[in-house]
């Protein structure tokens, strides 16, 4: 794999992650458990979908289709998001835990990419890092509060964590271009990122009184990066592209 292909692989997985989690976040608009949370998930949706557009624009500059075409005309098996992002929103505890696990990985990914040798990406990463910091602040506040809340809130958060864990490990599925990206100093690699992620989330989960599932049970839900998805992704894409499919030139 040459460095342009490796770069595209990296950009696709990040852009698709942002778009899909952004869409899932937006599903809380209007039905959040309290007004502030409704606003928080809607704001994070807006951030992430905006970020995905800029990442798709980089792909467009590298010769891929434009952002709308990439977002609205591919099928599930052409998407490279991690399976964690496509799972339904579930109960609020699940959405919060997913938000916590995913956003810490994101924040650290963009933190590292601020020093990427690929300048256009480094510039975006600088911007995104500042934005996602607010997402992780929001996530850790709730994880702490609900983990230390009452018996029910703690049990719900623990069960959501158990459910999301192996999917979260799937974020770090390695791509074929990984070595090239490391050699060219474009991206540090998924293994290094996963280690930083564990170091960042472990103390917060401990403080919240929640336990990371035992290592012997870890089985990363890989496949998403290569186009293998759960049955939940295609219906999401169908809904997201409904207007575009009816009228690709629609403006709103």
């Amino acid at each position: 794999m040459n460095s342009i292909e490796a770069l595209k692989e990296l950009l696709y997985k990040m852009a698709d992650d942002q778009l899909i989690i952004g869409h899932r976040n937006s599903e809380w608009t209007g039905i959040g458990p309290i007004l502030e949370e409704d606003i928080a998930f809607s704001s994070m949706a807006q951030d992430k979908i905006g970020q995905s557009e800029h990442l798709y624009n980089l792909l467009h500059q590298l010769g891929e289709s434009d952002a709308d075409t990439l977002a609205f005309t591919r099928n599930a098996d052409q998407f490279h998001n991690s399976q964690l992002t496509e799972l339904p929103i579930g109960e609020y505890d699940f959405s919060l835990i997913r938000h916590f696990l995913f956003d810490f990985a994101e924040m650290l990914r963009f933190d590292g990419l601020r020093n990427s040798a690929y300048m256009p990406l480094a510039q975006l990463a600088k911007k995104f890092y500042g934005e996602i910091k607010y997402h992780t602040m929001h996530a850790s506040t709730w994880v702490r509060q609900l983990g230390q809340g009452n018996e029910e809130s703690k049990a719900r958060m623990q069960s959501a964590l158990n459910e999301a864990w192996n999917y979260a490990l799937g974020i770090f599925e390695q791509g074929e271009g990984e070595t090239v990206l490391q050699e060219e100093k474009i991206f540090e690699g998924e293994a290094s990122l996963q280690e930083k992620w564990l170091n960042a989330i472990t103390p917060i989960l401990e403080e919240a009184g929640l336990s990371i599932p035992d290592k012997s049970t870890w089985e990363p839900k890989n496949g998403g990066r290569k186009g293998y998805h759960t049955d939940y992704l295609q219906p999401l894409l169908d809904e997201m592209s409904e207007v575009y499919s009816i009228d690709p030139t629609a403006d709103w």
């Binding site: 502030e36 949370e37 606003i39 928080a40 809607s42 704001s43 994070m44 807006q46 951030d47 992430k48 979908i49 905006g50 970020q51 557009e53 800029h54 256009p120 510039q123 975006l124 600088k126 911007k127 995104f128 500042g130 934005e131 910091k133 607010y134 602040m137 929001h138 506040t141």
Partner: protein, 162 residues
Amino acid sequence: MFTEKEIRSILKEVKDPEIPTISIVDLGIVTGIEVSEANDVHVTLTPTFAGCPALRLMEDMVEERLAKLPEIGTVSVNTSFDITWTTDMITPEGHEAIKKHGLAPPKRNCAKIDMKLLEETVCPYCDSSNTTLKSPFGPTLCRSLHYCNDCKQAFEGFKPVS
């Protein structure tokens, strides 16, 4: 031929569509102005937030305003991430404008942005520091929600971004 300074001063008339008291110049998002011999003008804007829905609107507003100038050549505007916007790029005049809109201006020179920093937001109505952070997210991407325990007023803050 227009000078960069002249264009910048004209652009002070273009306001942020979401906070109409502040100009895009005082907001600090005008990162480049180039004027050619033929009076062709190129303006570069940097986004406050990647997902800001007002981005394209602001590009159009800049283009529209400059196109009205007599003897102007072609006008082009683009958005670029070359210079990363931070809230420290907001001018002192901009801080006043933000306050005038009923928002708490962002703290300056924030080495570390965390919840504690947001909790220290000062009420834009009575200048009290006895306030409570309600949520780091507000009605637009750049705002947070607060409550003043002294004047009993809910207010919004402009979030610091570094």
